[in-house]
């Protein structure tokens, strides 16, 4: 499976590009899906350590608001994206120093608490954030190039796709590295790590900071794409959505988040188009079906179809 992963990735990228060309409105949906997929890689990382964050929408929202706040001053997407990632990483380090002391439900719920506090701040600091109305992000130059709307949208789409590729590759290397294996060791035998001289908390913390960074990056891409940010990005259901995508896609491979994100967005769009007042039910049912009948998620399904193992 590992060997055909790159080919699968290329096929997926090809399909995404083809869909984006064929249907302009899908390009938007797919850009959002790629952005979420990037953020979900962070969830995947933590899942490796057996930890579920129910608050990672915090970093998405942080990245998105970083773009929204700084866009009038630093009007360049190529500068804002790394800024959002670094900012989210710094916040992740700060919060991570606290939450990585905890495991399981405590870890999950403390993350939830942090994201809800951030959500409340976004709502409460009305003068600064315009509350639930949110902040608009204008089309901006990319790497100094002023672009019209169409070119801009294609550019952000391209950046999202390229970042998805690059980060998926990095994540794959990371997971295969001793660091990645130590991270997975936290899930089953954390104490043993200590007895091998490995600082388990440090390993988890570094993964947490990475997950915050990709979260911030994903959020920044969402802001650059939807061009309007609201506090809802940080609400707990948005965090649930990220975990939802991770499991829908499957935690077994780095393509899982992207398969999950694309499936999630497409199901949601088509459910909303066909049954505007029952889309939640359809999404929920889709997830249930995958969990009950396709363990390992979409990645697992693909892996079985190819005949390899999910992991």
């Amino acid at each position: 499976m590992k060997r055909i992963e790159p080919f699968l990735a290329l096929a997926l990228a090809g399909a995404i590009i083809a869909a984006a060309v064929a249907a302009p409105w899908l390009r938007f949906v797919l850009t959002i899906a790629l952005a979420k997929g990037i953020a979900v890689m962070g969830i995947l990382l933590l899942l490796r350590a057996g930890q579920v964050s129910f608050g990672h929408a915090l970093y998405i929202a942080f990245g998105a608001y970083t773009v929204a706040f700084l866009a009038p001053r630093v009007g360049d997407a190529a500068v804002l994206l790394p800024l959002a990632a670094i900012g989210a990483g710094a916040l992740g380090l700060l919060i991570g120093l606290f939450v990585t002391r905890y495991r399981q439900i405590f870890f999950g719920m403390l993350n939830l608490a942090m994201s809800m506090v951030f959500y409340s701040l976004l709502e409460k600091l009305y003068a600064l954030t315009k509350g639930s109305d949110g902040i608009r992000v204008e089309i901006m130059p990319v790497a100094g190039q002023a672009l019209d709307r169409i070119a801009y949208e294609w550019t952000i789409f391209g950046i999202a796709l390229a970042l998805a590729f690059a980060l998926a590759l990095l994540l794959r290397l990371y997971l295969a590295s001793p660091m990645g294996e130590a991270l997975a060791g936290i899930k089953t035998r954390e104490t043993r790590l200590e007895f091998m001289g490995v600082p388990a908390r440090g390993v988890l913390l570094s993964a947490y900071v990475l997950s915050a960074m990709v979260g911030g990056l994903g959020g920044a891409l969402i802001a650059l794409t939807s061009r309007h940010v609201t506090p809802l990005l940080a609400y707990w259901t948005s965090s649930g959505e990220l975990v939802f995508i991770a499991i829908l896609g499957g935690a077994g491979g780095v393509l899982g988040p992207f398969m999950g994100a694309i499936a999630y967005e497409l199901i949601r769009v088509y459910a909303a188009a066909s049954f505007a007042d029952a889309w939640q039910m359809i999404l929920g049912a889709a997830l249930l079906l995958v969990i009950l009948f396709a363990p390992g998620g979409l990645w697992g399904m693909a892996a079985r179809a190819v005949g390899g193992r999910g992991r």
């Binding site: 899942l47 579920v52 129910f54 606290f98 002391r101 905890y102 399981q104 439900i105 405590f106 999950g108 719920m109 403390l110 939830l112 608490a113 942090m114 809800m116 506090v117 409340s120 709502e123 409460k124 104490t191 707990w236 259901t237 649930g240 975990v243 939802f244 991770a246 499991i247 007042d277 029952a278 939640q280 039910m281 999404l283 929920g284 049912a285 997830l287 249930l288 969990i291 009950l292 363990p295």
Partner: protein
Amino acid sequence: MADWFQDNGLLLGLALLDGLSSAGLIFLVAVGLNLVFGVLRIVNVAHGSLYAIGAYSAASIGLFAASLGVPAWASLPILLLSAALVGAIVGPLIERFLLRRIYAQEEVVQLLVTFALFMILEDVQKLVWGVQPIHHDQAMKLLGTIDVPFAGDFIPFTNYQLFVLPGIAVVTLVGLAWFLRRTLTGRVIVAVTTDREAATAMGIDASKIFLLTFTFGSMLAALGGALSSPTAALVPGIGAQTIVLSFAVVATAGLGQIEGAALTSLMMGLGRSIAVYFEPELEVVVPYIIMVLVLLVRPQGLFGVTETRRV
């Protein structure tokens, strides 16, 4: 400090009265979630749906009974009965047909199954009860109000909120404590909560205990909803609001701890009402601040016991 109390002591007294009734409701919902979590180790997001269904059912059954000419005094027993009915019907359905299939899976997958269920049930509620606010306040009106003297003035409180809600919460707490400590089934539940492996190794029929606990937890969620229905108008989305607060209670209280849930609910109820008097903007984040502070001091939760890891 003394001056402050002189000025605000009376207000603090009022805040205490308000905090008690809201703590009562928080407790009823959270303790059910905590029990289920303690025994099944599933963070049950659908607990919020059970709360909402309990509330809606109680209001519908109450309205139906009133239309049949059932006397007003029956409105209180009807609340309790409808909650029991909802828990006894919906709880086992969920446990038997859904949760039972996924006990072997990872925690995150279990959590997501309940998240999917929550999404489905959100739309089901809308299909059954519509979107317009539903309210049935017979029980609150039946009991009338009591005038509490305040600085030469008086403040009317509803007897329902001042006595019935905290009263039922206390009865539930005492009853639960008795049940868990003094009955065989209760002790088995405690045994499964504290050491699942040992308990199953001792030949405890886990499947029966799971069904029982889940049904019981569902009844408590429905009871919380039913008891909120005389004072609150029911609209789509009430489940989502409730569940996230209950999460905070569970993490703060410690695994499966009912006394912990009681103390936490009290702290959060009082904390929020004090905030409304002195710093209303903080009200929303008070539960999370309490949670973070408690976990800083007691990483396993207020009443949680450290899981000893043998090496």
